[in-house]
């Protein structure tokens, strides 16, 4: 427990200490929010809560990307050598994984909440219950994608390759999730990708909460792109939460396994002397 807490505290200290990075994270969140809400305004004009629709999509993307990126910080620890200090310490591998995933989630969720709060100035309307519900969902999404990010980072052998890989993976996932562009307008060829994309379900349940859609019928939900009818097999937003959770649990397990066997001593990027 103490080690997990220590890892969490350390990562938060580092976040706040790196002023430039911290500022840019905030700045980017704001920028994304403003640009997208202005650009997309006309696209969602017919909806009941246009701002809720847009901002929920932006927030969940932010949480997703932040979680993934935060997990990548472990590569910095590997290349700076600090990972060795953690690996030789008497801490179980699952504790290291939990510590990293928790830090990454906390930072992602803080960022998400911040954007939600900014959203209130742009016309977002939420009651406290839905605000809390959305926070809960952000935690869920944060945990899932932090685990995924950490797993990928543990597989990576080199940090530049990894960054390219992340971009290659996240770009299509983001655009095929319904977060920015409603899935209902996408060509049907892309449908299978939409259904296989874990982000689709994260977005749909988040939007479901943001738009207070509890009273809508399944057919209506399918029509708005929050529920999915895959040849008669219907996935409702609640199922989305379960799917996200399952994906998270799977990657967490993979992560711990990868941590157990990975020989991080060989990933070191900046070495002072020869090693054997």
């Amino acid at each position: 427990m103490r080690a997990i807490q220590a890892i969490l505290v350390r990562n938060l200290i580092k976040l706040f200490r790196d002023k430039t990075r911290f500022f840019f994270t905030l700045f980017m969140s704001g920028l994304l929010l403003f640009t997208f809400s202005f650009v997309m305004k006309s696209a969602v004009a017919g909806l009941d809560h246009p701002m809720n629709y847009l901002i929920s999509g932006i927030v969940i993307m932010m949480v997703f990307q932040s979680a993934l990126n935060n997990s990548m910080n472990i590569l910095e620890d590997i290349s700076s050598g600090f990972m060795k200090e953690i690996l030789v310490a008497p801490i179980a591998r699952w504790q290291i994984a939990i510590g990293q995933i928790m830090s990454s989630t906390v930072i992602a969720v803080l960022q998400g909440i911040l954007v939600l709060v900014l959203g209130f100035f742009l016309g977002l309307r939420l009651d406290p219950f839905h605000f809390l519900l959305m926070t809960g969902l952000m935690v869920l999404v944060g945990l899932t994608f932090s685990s995924l990010g950490l797993f990928l980072a543990a597989l990576a052998k080199e940090s530049t390759t990894f960054q390219v890989l992340i971009t290659v993976v996240t770009m299509p996932l983001t655009f095929l999730s319904g977060a920015y562009i409603p899935t209902t307008v996408l060509p049907s060829v892309l449908r299978p990708v939409v259904y296989l994309n874990p982000l689709t379900y994260a977005t749909s349940m988040f939007r479901y909460a943001a738009l207070h859609m509890e009273s809508m019928s399944t057919a209506q939900l399918v029509k708005t792109g929050v529920a999915f009818d895959i040849h008669g097999f219907v996935i409702r937003p609640e199922h989305g939460a379960i799917i996200t959770l399952a994906i998270g649990a799977t990657f967490f397990a993979l992560c711990v396994r990868q941590f157990r066997k990975a020989d991080f001593s060989r990933v070191t990027v900046f070495k002072r002397g020869g090693h054997r």
Partner: protein, 305 residues
């Protein structure tokens, strides 16, 4: 009778067909300073990494304080402190934050943390830098901070992988002072690798590894006695009787700028020679072999390459 802190039996590590470490066995007595010498790629880091539980072995048994490093990993990790070849401090955190983090990882009882940090900072003399971020420190200060961190959980065995590489001679000397002070004060076992043979001189025992095999393991004194020769340079007013003595006792000699240079395995014949020809000897210089010579004669290379 003192027991062994480190016991290595038939340790082998292979990468594919290539054996980085090939069936080595050695032990290190509790409370002693042990130096592991070898050219780059000889298997030093592999051995350290395996002893530190972060690398797998192919075969053999390695124990620290009686605990097997593969099966009782957690116990081993608690008992050891490591200063790696490269800096493994968190560069963005301060020295104190790094030490605090380390205490959390090693479960140092919370009430003791502040005192321990103060103690180790004083030991390596970096109190005034405690609140500086690590990336603002010089190489020597970082090294000291790292040694402090390796000690703050009071390990029973301290591993130092090239603790003074890349430091200037003055800093190197002071780092050594700290290492020796720690060893005296806390009576811990120190396992180190080094490129600097003069550093190995002050160790209790030295093992030389080459191509994954230990080629010699003894005290520095015994190693020098066994693997080096003594060179005696004599300036004399009358060389011929000395040369005759050399031939009679079949001692190797050469002429060297105005004097004689005699190479012997033992010091005895030289003493005889000196007492016999005392009156004609103008100057005398005796060069005992160094660990450099031991290293050269065993591995055929200079250690710094």
């Amino acid at each position: 009778m003192p027991s062994n802190s480190i016991e290595v039996e038939h340790f082998t590590k292979k990468y594919g067909e290539f054996a980085a470490v090939d069936d080595i066995s050695f032990s290190v007595e509790e409370g002693s300073i042990f130096a592991f010498l070898g050219p780059n790629g000889a298997g030093k880091s592999t051995t350290i990494n395996t002893l530190c539980t972060i690398q797998d072995k192919t075969g053999g048994t390695l124990r620290i304080n009686g605990n097997d490093v593969t099966t009782r990993m957690a116990l081993v990790r608690k008992d050891i402190g490591i200063v790696f070849q490269e800096c493994t401090l968190d560069q963005k955190l301060t020295v104190r934050e790094n030490l605090k983090l380390h205490c959390d990882f090693y479960e140092v009882p919370r009430p003791e943390v502040a005192d321990r940090i103060r103690f180790v900072l004083a030991l390596v003399d970096i109190e005034e830098w405690k609140d500086a971020p690590v990336n603002a420190l010089s190489g020597g200060l970082k090294r000291r901070a790292e040694i402090a961190r390796g000690l703050v959980h009071f390990p029973k065995v301290l591993f130092l992988d090239e603790p003074t590489t890349g430091l200037d001679p003055q800093t190197r000397a002071s780092v050594w002072e700290y290492i020796q002070a720690i060893q005296k004060q806390k009576g811990i076992t120190i396992f180190l690798t080094t490129h600097y043979l003069e550093e190995a001189e002050i160790c209790d025992s030295v093992a030389i590894i080459d191509h994954g095999k230990i080629v010699a393991h003894d005290t520095p004194y015994e190693l020098k006695k066994r693997y080096t020769r003594t060179t005696t340079r004599i300036k004399t007013s009358d060389p011929s009787p000395i040369l005759r003595f050399c031939t009679e006792h079949s001692l190797e000699w050469t002429r060297e700028d105005g004097g004689l240079s005699i190479t012997t395995k033992e010091i005895g014949p030289v003493m005889d020679l000196v007492s016999l020809f005392k009156s004609s000897i103008l100057d005398l210089e005796i060069d005992k072999g160094t660990l450099d010579d031991v290293f050269l004669s065993l591995t055929g290379k200079e250690i710094r390459n």
